[in-house]
Each structure stands twice: as C-alpha cells, then as structure tokens.
Subunit: 295 residues, 2 copies
Amino acid sequence: MFEQLGLIGCGLMGGSFALALKQAGLVQRVVGYSKSPSTTQLARELGVIDVEAPSALLAVSGADIVLLAVPVAATEETFKSIRHLLSPDTLVMDVGSTKSDIVAAARTVLREQLPCFVPAHPIAGREVAGVRHADARLYQDRQVILTPLPETRPDHLARAEQVWKALGSRVRHMTPEAHDTAYAAVSHLPHLVAFAAMNAIAAQPQAREFLSLAGPGFRDFTRIAASDPSVWRDILLANRANVLAQSAQLRAALDALEACMQTPDGPALQQLIEKASDARSAWTLPSASASVPDN
Amino acid sequence: MFEQLGLIGCGLMGGSFALALKQAGLVQRVVGYSKSPSTTQLARELGVIDVEAPSALLAVSGADIVLLAVPVAATEETFKSIRHLLSPDTLVMDVGSTKSDIVAAARTVLREQLPCFVPAHPIAGREVAGVRHADARLYQDRQVILTPLPETRPDHLARAEQVWKALGSRVRHMTPEAHDTAYAAVSHLPHLVAFAAMNAIAAQPQAREFLSLAGPGFRDFTRIAASDPSVWRDILLANRANVLAQSAQLRAALDALEACMQTPDGPALQQLIEKASDARSAWTLPSASASVPDN
C-alpha cells in the first residue's frame, strides 16, 4: 500500500504504528526520527524503524505516508520543519489526543499542503511510554477518531480509513470540537483526577503506609496516573477549557454524593450510587466490531 | 481444622470464603443463611453451602467458625440475632470494609462473647455482586487486615490468621482507626469519585455519545463504579468523616493542577503530573509474598 513511512516521534504510539504497518505488510520501509538520537537509535535496533533520519524533514523526504507521534504542543513546530518536503500525494496523520489545537496548527502552517492532513486520534495507549513498549497490536480492536477538514482530500481520507481498518481499528468521524468535548469527559478529566488522587495521597505523612494497603480497585482507578507527563501536560493545556468544564461537572456530582453523606441520607445516597453503578454496569468498552450510535 | 462454618450472607464475599475453605479442606460442612431465601437456595444449588438455615441464629447453631458477610450497617442487627447461640470457642469474623463501626457494634452487642470476634477486612472484591460470582480464589494473593481488640482471645486471633494464610492471603494487623483512615484514602474515596465520574457524564445530554467513545483508560478508572450500591452506601456512611477528609485532600490536589492549567503554567503543571506519575509508576499491588513496612 505504501512505500515509505516517515515516522516523527518513535515512542509508544509511533513505534506501535510502524510495527503494525510492517506486520500487516502495508509498508516497505520506515524512516524514523525522534528528538532524542538515542531513541531513534533504539528504535532501529529494535526493528521498529529501518533507517534513522537526522531530522524530521529528512524523515519525510521520499515518504508517501507520514505519521506525527509527538506531544501535541510540538505539532506546530513539527509541521513547520517538514512542510517544505511534503508532496500533495503524501498522506499525513497525527495521533494526538486533542484535535482543535492540532487542526489550528495545521491551518496556520501547512497552507497548500493542508489537504494532505487527516487528523487522527487512536483510542489506545498504555501507562508506560517509550519505544521499548511498542506493540504491533496496540491499535487492534480499538476505535480511531478522524476529524477531517473541509479541505482534506477525499482520497487521503479514504486511505487513512483503510490503513486504520487494516490495523484492526474501527474508524469514526467527528468534528475537532465534538472530539475535544467528548474526550475531555471520558479521558482527559479521568487522567487529571487520577493525577490528583496520587498527589493527594503522596502529600500525607502516612502516604507510604496507605499505598502499602491499597488493593486492586486502587490499582485500576489510578493506572492512568502513570501516564507520560509531557504528553499529558500538553493535552491538559490544549484542551483546558473543556477539561475545566468537565471538572466542574464532576465536582457537582461529588457535591451531591457528599451532601447525602453529611445529612446523612442513606436512601438518597443509595439512589445516587445505583445510578452510577447501573450506568457503569451497562457500559462495555467499544470494540472494533461493536455497533455505535451515529454522530 | 473446622467442623462447621456458619455463613451469614451468601454473596460474593461470603460465598467465596465458603468455597475457598471447602477447597482447602478446612471445613466439613457449611450452613448458610441469606436475608433473601432465593439467595440461600441458589447458594446451596451452586454447592457454595451444604445446608440452608432459615435464620442467622440457626446458621450459627453448632458452628465452630462463623463469618458475617453482610453490608456493614447490618452487622449490629446480625450480632444481636446470633449472640445467644455463640459459644466462647466459636471463632467469629466479618469481612467489612470499615472497622471502627463494626468494632463498636461488637462491643455493644456481643458483651461476654466479644473475645470470640476477630474483625477482618480482606482487600479483595469484584465489580459484580452475588453468589453466582463466588470464586474460591478471590482471597488468594490478597492482603487481609485484622483489627483485633484488647479483649480478643489470642487463640482465636491465631486461628483467624491461620485460616486466611491457608487461603493464600497475607495477614496484617492494624487498629480499627488506622484501618479506616487508610482505606478512606485508598479505597472509599476512589469509589466515591468513580460514582461521581459516572453520574457527571450521565447528567450531560451527550452522555450516550461520550460513553460510546471511551477507551481502556476510562474502563479501568471507572471499574469500581459498578460496585454494589447497598454495600457502598453503608461503607461511605460508616466512614464518612474520614472519606470527607480525604475528599478535601483530593480537591486541594485537583485545585493545584487546575491552577496551573488556568494560568497557564506548563512547567508547574508538568512537575505536578511527574510527581503523580512517578508515585504511581513506583507502586505495585501488594501481594501475599511482598514485603511491607511495619505498622
């Protein structure tokens, strides 16, 4: 399908994409670049990329597909450094967890190459970072949200869909704004709260004992707190208006529960917990094969 | 080791204890009682108990070990209904997630039988309730906290330790107060927040679409929101002073993160996330074999 993938950012997300593309026989050669030369070297040693590029620009040279897998705040700079070598026939995608800021950066920088760009957000990840954890199956049975622009070339969009489907993902389309609102609620706020939960415990003198007593519920509730700090700094800043609005919603729901505890009003408390428990019991992780409501 | 287990409450926790005890060959006969006759019947049909008792009192009759596995608020009533048939040689335990209230109920009701009682909290559970999910391995490789009283008979305490160890658990001792403080932080507050997170989403008009977009991070963060409502109503009420204090700590940690988002102050935000991420990365679920700090 493709001759050469230009991979910018050889971390967990980018490395997993390269491995998956290779394993599916969709690309002949992967040229990779990471900001840290030791990461690029390691990616080659691990067979994630075939050729180390000394710059983002050179990673793009000759590529017919380009993936940006960098912290979202680095997107604009990356676009700037590669735009001169993008041909109109090159498919360009990102894997960022926010979309409005990425789209704004693309509009500002890419100009006549804007139709090449298909903004993408695969709903996959892991609480560990780095190319060592790259996994060809990371995107399998996961959703991928594409937020195409009016300018996006339809053939690029179609190929983007094909690529993700070939990796076992289910593709959905949204506007960048609807994407950012939804993911503030179901991903960004949960990360923020998980960070806060860890910091709240760490700030107490009994932190070490508390942590030695925690069980499987705590393990799952806080798993995402181990996520990559620079990646999440960028996401929380880029989408801060939506995240702060969702935090206010959470605080209101917490206020309601706490009011029942303070009264105390057992039946009202039980009712609120039942609502939450029923909603969570009815939910299952959307898979590539499940049906979804139309947008 | 035991002739007869009197099981009061044939749900997930109680049923799993009965199955584990049987599988380890530690008990000859299980006599069970649940408030709902259909649950007791189902427990017998599933082989979790051998004999259905028509009352808590009759479940205790002839037992040399008794386990209370009822919502914590039902503990005092249960003690009242069984105390007349408790012999001084019967080991009595509970599995409640709070300990100060349970100990207070035992002091009020059990009186001369108080030395029989070894308050216990196994750090195990599941987001599903009911005897159908009972599992002989539920307590394997998990911690069990015992909060013995000055009055607790040392031989009962020793036997309680032996039982849990035989089921593959690691036993730790704490005071009821230290237990309740710690579990407010690492279990009760996370449950409260997970309930609030589900309710906050459910309250929004786009709830259905949001939930259809959520990924593995959301799945793990909210898993405990599916917990049993009446069990958690009781826990949150019984330990509400500690839980509300921990909630204030969490809100302060959340305030600090949000202040960095609002400024915005990227470096300070990254520092706070790094603290959380480092703390979570350094943590692993305590297992039955791991070493722990002394209390």
